[in-house]
Each structure stands twice: as structure tokens, then as C-alpha cells.
Amino acid sequence: MNSLSTGKYLPNPRIPVLFSAAVLAAALLPLIMDPFTTISATNVFIYIVITLSWALFSGPTQYISIATAAFFGIGIYTSALAGELMPFPLVVCLGGVVSFVLALLVGLSTLRLKGMYFTIFTFGLSELIRHFVLWWEVVMTGTVGRWVVSVDPIPVYYTMLVILVVTISFCFFIGRSRYGLALRSIGQSEEAADHMGINITAVKINVFAITAFFAGATGSTMATRWTYIDPSIAFNPLFSFMPVLMAIFGGIGSITGQIIGAAVLTLLADLLLTEFPYYYMLIYGIILVVVILFLPGGIVGLWDSMKKRRRTETNENT
């Protein structure tokens, strides 16, 4: 494979070292910290995974999908249905696979749509799935909610850690590979990409489906912590919007930015929810508005422009 020096994904030798150190620290966390921290970290992992998987496809291609909730929810329902039938790791994989297949079908039917039409369709689709599941449960099974086989917080934490490591590595390598190049080309001129020999339909559908795998596996894992689910919990549209907001907040073009955005906003939401339960949404909303108005490049963009400013200042001084 040809390595492309893109500037954005620097082939920095420190990255693997830092990454391994962070994974090791995360692996030791439940041993040294209290259960609350472990659960809170699990929560952060969930949002990082769905943000990364959303941004892997929607970031470079500019096909803004708001169907994450559908794939996440499918994972949750897979967990509810298959939780008693097979061991936990298998349930997680199955959740990913079911979401993958669904995304493949969705991709085949929607990825010919462009821009706004694609976005609206993905939103409509997740709502459709939610209402379909609700209808099915009420009419066919005669109930609304379901119990999910519960799993302890520690195994859930480690499962999420594994999914997180796989997702980050996958995003990193895809971004630097020829597929990353193809995805970015599609985002900037689909017609030119097509005429330069990229099978745009295949690239889009495959990558879209793979990102759904991660969201589905995450859903399957998390369902075991909630124990009770119903369609409005599993297919909560917030799971579609949060990855978009978190990626924009952190910086849509960089993996580091997406991780920071997801982590900061998740922790912030937890903090606000416990400290200011009545004003939580209000404060959260104001912060988001301010960031989007004043930091178009997200946190990473702010960091970059600060670095640039410092560099020009030192140049002027010398």
C-alpha cells in the first residue's frame, strides 16, 4: 500500500506508543478506580465509537447520515432477542452483523440520493424502523418493552474497550489507505471520482455498512446495561444527532478531534445532568451553539490556528 503523506494523518512515530499507553491505562482503570468511574468511562467509549464510525463515512464523503440511531437500536434489539440464546461476545458480534446487513440494504437504496435528500432519507428511515418495531411489538408480541439479559459493568467495560480499539485502528488505517483517498475524492467531486476509476457505489455502500457494524455492536453491548428497552429508548433520535454534534465539536476532519469531541461532550453532559438537572439541556444547548458559531473547525481547528498564530509571531520576532 502506498502511504500518502496527507498532513492530516501524520505518520508520527509517537502515535502507536501513545495509543498503546492509553489502551493499557484504560485496561487498568477498573482495577484502580471506583465503579462509577468505570461506568462513566464506558459511556464515553460508546459515544467515541459512534462518533468515529459516523465520521468515518460522513466526514470525508459529506453524505451526512442521521441513521446512527437505527443501527444502534438494531444492535440493542439483537441483544434483547439473542441475549438468552448465546454467550455475550457472540451477541455483540451478531448485533454488529445485523446492523451491517441492514446498512448494506439501506445503502443500496439510498446512496444514490445526494446532499439534503440523503440526510432526510436516513432520518426518515430510522424513524420508520422505530415505528415499525413499535407496531410489531404491540400487534405481534402484545407488549411494548423487553428485558435484556444483564451483564456486569466490568465485562461491558472491557467489551466496549475492545470495540473502541478496533474502531480507532480501523478509522486510522482506512483514513490513510486508498479507501480513505477514494472517500475524500467522492466528497469533493463525485463525478470526477467516478471518471477516475473509483467504483463510487461500492465504496460508499461498503464503508457505510462497516460503520454500521460498529454502531450495532455498541448497541448490543450497551443493551445489557439497560436491562429494559422499548423502541423509543433503543431508537432514540439523539443517538443519530449526538455523533454529528460531537464530531463537529471536536473537529470533523481528524480522529483525535472526534475522540476529544465525544469525550468532552459526554463528560459535560454527565456533569451538567448531576449538577444542574433542571438547566442541563439549556446549558448544553448554549455551549453547542457557541462552539458551532465561533469554532468552525472544532477544538482541533482552534488548536491548529493557535499553533499557526504562535508560529507567525515567532517568525516576526526573529
Binding site: 500518502l4 483517498l181 475524500r184 470526477a192 471518471h195 477516475m196 476509476g197
Partner: protein, 247 residues
Amino acid sequence: MSHSDTLLRVDKISISFGGLAVLTDVNLKVDEGELVGLIGPNGAGKSTLFNVISSIYKPDTGDVFLKGKKITGIAPHKLCRMGISRTYQLVKTFNKMTALENVMVGAIYGHKHGGSDAKTRAIDAMSLVGIEDKQNILVSHLTLSDRRLVEVARSLASSPLVTLLDEPMAGLNVSEIKTLLTVIKRAREERKISILWVEHKVDAIFRTCDRVAVLNYGAKIADGKPEEIAKDSKVIEAYLGESLTRN
């Protein structure tokens, strides 16, 4: 019926949009190594013919052949791997990528053998058009003329048999046009590729091309050596008739 050295052949292409006939029974061929110019007044159907060849439109009747093989309506990405690359009148570069990355797309995806030695081919194509020193610059920071060159390099990196140039001179100034003309000549000499070149600037076409075809109101009205075409009464009428009445 196929000549041994005919590379690209357009056979009796007709296409209409909502009852408006844009092309009627157009025949055209490009031989191996040949530089063919395609001219015609505004709305003559030049771009439509290009879009038929590059599979954006499927013709109502007629077929396109590459080396005697029918390629009508084949998916554009396959077309590129078979050896037809193109540039656009309104430049379609990947603006948030560096010049090298743009050209790499052509080298990796536009070529049958894909990734192997793609970088070498990309850099070769860039030096051929003379932008090898701009490899790491974002295309959005380049001038229109350099973007055109990036497009040409991207297309050359896919090692095409034939390249379609859609009004490459549009919007360029005199010295930029000169540069691009040298690039076209050099690409042809070094790569032995065939070129089908649509252009509004008739003088550039007459000076450079081996053969010139003229479209008017969707029909081919002339096809021959530049000096013959310059004297052709129908061509003069199509072009000058227009400007005489305007004056």
C-alpha cells in the same frame, strides 16, 4: 469494418432531451496517437457528445467503440480503467486534497494494475505537465491554470489510451494557454496517447490538431485536416455567418 488503428469510434449517435434533438447521427473517430479537435458554436452539442462518450448520458441510438469493443453506457469507473480519461470544462479537482493526492487517485484507481508503482506514475505525470514542485499544495490554493494542469496530470496518471479534454483553455490567459498547449503536445509525444479535444478557441485547435471535426446544431458538418476545415464554406457560415450578422 473496424480499422486496425481506429481507437475510439462514435457510431451514429443520436440523443434528445425532452423532444429537443441535441445530437443527430453523429459519427466520429479518433485513430491511435491522433489529436482530434472538436469545434462548433455554442449549443452545437460538443459537450453532450463528450458526455455520451464518457457515459454520463446514454444515447438514444448509436454506439461508442473503443478498439472495436462496444462501450456504450458502461459504468464510468470501468471506462477509465479501459483507457478513457477526461477533464472538465468547469474544473473538477478534489480541492481539499493536495495536488499529489489528486493525481494519486488517477494513478491508483484509473489504472488496471491499481496500486503497484502508483506513486511513481503520479509523480511522472506531474513532471510531464510541469507541476512536480506543487505536490504538497492543497488544490484549493492553486490558480485555475494550475488546477487544469492537476486535472490533466490526474488523467495522464491513469495511463489512458485516449484523453478527452473539455475546453481546457476556458478562462485562461494568453501565457497560461501557451503553457497548456506545450503540455498537450508533450503529453502526446511522450505518452503516444490519442486526444479528443473540445475547444471554443478555434485558432488553438487549428494550429495544433491533426484533424478537426465541426458540429453545428447537433450534426457533424465537416471533418478533415485543419487547413481544409478553415476553408470549408459550411464551417465559415456556421462561425462567421453568426458574427457578421452580429456586427
